[in-house]
């Protein structure tokens, strides 16, 4: 068997078989599931299911029809709305806890829109929405059902650029959540792999095993085995988390079917894969380089942090990018190899990316990844036999005999 596979298998298995790795692998999805569970539970528990009452002083809602009782999804029941003859009856019902609040529709409602609400505690916004819908539905009960539906739903803004048929939905917060979520997962996986790689390289130096290894196989086979073995550890993690994320998304779609309407373009995921993979290799290779130049793992870890920091810079400017996805800052971020993996997919959801920008960005990233591998393998060759001595950047670039 090719010695590359021996190194690959050794590097991969020794991390993957460790309890620490398995714990880290399952703890993140468990933690997220726990947070999701807790927030859903909190929402369910805190929701007040009691009806609300109203007293109609305007005379407009005497024969009011109730609104359709169901919404889609988990919280599907709309609040029940009861009519009261006068305020005393409503007050008694409120005091008895039979209703959570009552509205008094003022006599001049039609001209002023004035409605009072009496409640012991603040009322959920859903209840307010349901009551407005009730008022609108009944005001428009004689109108054309199509017109009524349009007035109730409001306009749906779709942004369509002049030179393409791509659509940008104005009400799509889900897309940004996906970008941010993917970014965080990417960061975690890069840090895991990068950290393992860094440790794996520094360890050769600290353990003084380099010479035995170099007289057993070629540097290229050894480096490739180490890099791909440790990258695969990160990819295993990434894949597992993405599958878990997919399962969570399925559950979310079942719970909140409205999310179905927020279609996410599949080209977004393609773009993400195209930027994440070279970025992954680039950062891992840079960390290997640091590992080869440093003398001990603690020092190496401190320097390596510097490489993963620029990845999250777009998060700090997310408001500016979302507001102006085509300004020079946003374009600059999508071309710079460190910030491209988060900026490019994010912008693809906001604007129509010119092909040259996608091409240039991915081209630059791939070139940066190749350059990082070259630097890493050079640093590795030069630095590995220097026990306790640092290797300077100038030495890596100097022609080698």
């Amino acid at each position: 068997m090719n010695k590359f596979w021996i190194v690959f298998g050794h590097e991969y298995l020794r991390h993957v078989k460790r309890k620490r790795f398995i714990f880290a692998l399952i703890s993140i999805p468990l933690f997220m599931a726990f947070i999701m569970g807790v927030s859903i539970l909190a929402a369910v528990i805190s929701e007040d299911r009691r009806p609300v009452g109203y007293i109609d002083q305007s005379g407009l809602f005497l024969d009011a029809r109730p609104i359709p009782p169901t919404r889609s999804g988990l919280f599907q029941n709309k609040v029940q709305i009861l009519a009261f003859e006068d305020e005393t009856a409503a007050r008694n019902a409120l005091d008895a806890g039979e209703i959570q609040a009552y509205y008094i529709i003022q006599p001049d409602y039609l001209s002023t829109g004035s409605v009072k609400i009496i409640a012991k505690e603040s009322v959920d916004s859903e209840v307010m929405q349901d009551f407005s819908e009730f008022l609108l539905t009944n005001l428009l009960k004689n109108a054309d059902p199509k017109i009524r539906a349009r007035v109730l739903e409001g306009p749906e803004l779709i942004l369509r650029p002049m030179d393409s048929d791509k659509k940008f939905n104005s009400s799509n917060p889900f897309g940004f959540i996906v970008v941010i979520f993917s970014g965080v997962i990417f960061m975690l996986a890069v840090n895991t792999s990068g950290g393992y790689l860094l440790q794996a390289v520094v360890e050769e130096k600290e353990n003084r095993t380099m010479e035995v290894v170099l007289t057993s196989l070629s540097t290229d086979q050894f480096m490739a085995g180490k890099i791909f073995g440790n990258l695969s550890v990160g990819l295993t993690q990434l894949l597992f988390w993405l599958i878990m994320g997919g399962i969570a998304a399925l559950i979310a779609l079942r719970t909140f079917p409205d999310l179905n309407e927020l279609g996410i373009d599949f080209s977004f995921f393609g773009l993400m894969a195209l930027t994440f993979l070279p970025a992954f290799v680039m950062i891992a290779a840079l960390m290997t380089m640091v590992g080869a130049t440093a003398t001990e793992s603690r020092e190496a870890q401190q320097i390596a942090g510097l490489f993963s920091l620029p990845i999250v810079i777009p998060f700090w400017f997310i408001a500016a990018i979302m507001e102006n996805p085509n300004n020079p800052l946003s374009i600059g971020f999508s071309l710079f190899p460190f910030t491209a993996p988060l900026t490019l997919p994010l912008r693809s959801m906001l604007t129509n990316l010119p092909f040259w920008q996608i091409g240039l960005s991915i081209g630059l990233l791939t070139a940066a990844a190749a350059a990082a591998i070259w630097l890493a393998s050079r640093a590795f060759r030069l630095g590995m036999l220097r026990y306790g001595k640092k290797l300077s950047l100038a030495e890596i670039f100097r022609p080698q005999s």
Binding site: T209, E211, L385
Partner: protein
């Protein structure tokens, strides 16, 4: 055909000439000493031989040609800067390193088990390497050097930090491997350690070859006109051709004039009826030869 042929190699690091026009050959089945003080260029020479470094000039042939990936499986190397993977079990570590030397998984496991038993490490095989004592780790390193039954064994500073028991064990092991026909290169600054083991040697100082050849030839070449004599009784007061007599322990060191050979002196003593317990041409130690050579060349620091 020589096992190793080093031809005029030079290597410079920055301003320092680490190896300067070094040449020597290692013959099959011998224990060869690569000697010199610390910083003489021994380890650099070894690394060039093993293709870890490229020489600035000169050539090396090993096992009949240039170093190849296949040849790496036929060489066992114990570097001076040596270690093992600390955070995994001894068994995993040894198996991994054995497989990197080209052994199949089953063969590696079998050989590792055999050798762990031989070196009394079998009971510790599940322990992490870092939990083993220094002596145990050194034995484990020897296993990684020999596990794949290499044709050529190169050991850099084999006795550094070894206690007398382990030093003896390594010496016995090296003799045993030589008797099996293996070629052994032993690289050390502890010259007295190799005197009893090496057949031939090269001595390097400041990157240059100082001495090269058979150990006995070199010692004879540098032996002065000195003879060690242990007579049963007193020595005769007058011995022709003997310039000076020094008392040493229970015997004497006789300094001979240039025209008197040890053989002639022995003949004289026998003719005079001097009963002898010991008569020996005083050969200098390698340490003494080394000092003599570098002093003569004005290179003693």
């Amino acid at each position: 055909m020589s096992t190793i042929q080093v031809n005029q190699i030079s290597k410079r690091f920055g301003t320092q000439q680490a190896v300067d026009q070094v040449s020597f050959e290692v013959e099959p089945g011998e224990i060869f000493g690569l000697l010199g003080p610390n910083g003489a260029g021994k380890t650099t020479t070894i690394r060039i031989i093993l293709d870890i470094f490229k020489p600035d000039s000169g050539e090396v042939e090993i096992l009949g040609g240039k170093m190849t990936e296949e040849k790496k499986n036929r060489i066992g190397y114990l570097p001076e800067e040596r270690g093992l993977y600390q955070d995994i079990s001894l068994e995993t570590c040894l198996n991994y390193l054995a497989r990197l030397k080209g052994l199949k998984p089953t063969d590696a496991a079998e050989r590792v088990e055999q050798m762990m038993k031989r070196f009394d490490l079998y009971d510790h095989r599940k322990k992490k390497v870092k939990e083993l004592s220094k002596g145990m780790q050194q034995k484990a390193q020897l296993i990684t050097t020999l596990v794949h039954d290499p044709q050529l064994i190169i050991i850099d500073e084999p006795f550094s930090a070894l206690d007398p028991v382990n030093t003896q064990m390594v010496k016995d092991l090296l003799r045993e491997e030589r008797d099996k026909g293996k070629t052994i290169v032993m690289c050390t600054h502890q010259m007295h350690q190799v005197e009893e083991l090496c057949d031939r040697l090269v001595l390097i100082n400041r990157g240059k070859v100082m001495l090269y050849g058979k150990l006995n030839d070199i010692r004879r070449q540098y032996s002065g006109q000195e003879v060690i004599v242990h007579p049963l009784n007193e020595l005769p007061a007058n011995l022709p051709g003997v310039q000076r007599v020094e008392r040493e322990n229970s015997g004497y060191v006789l300094h001979l004039a240039d025209n008197l050979t040890p053989q002639l002196l022995l003949k004289n003593l026998v003719e005079q009826g001097v009963a002898l317990e010991r008569f020996e041409v005083a050969l200098p130690t390698l340490d003494e030869i080394f000092i003599q050579v570098v002093t003569a060349r004005g290179e003693l620091e």
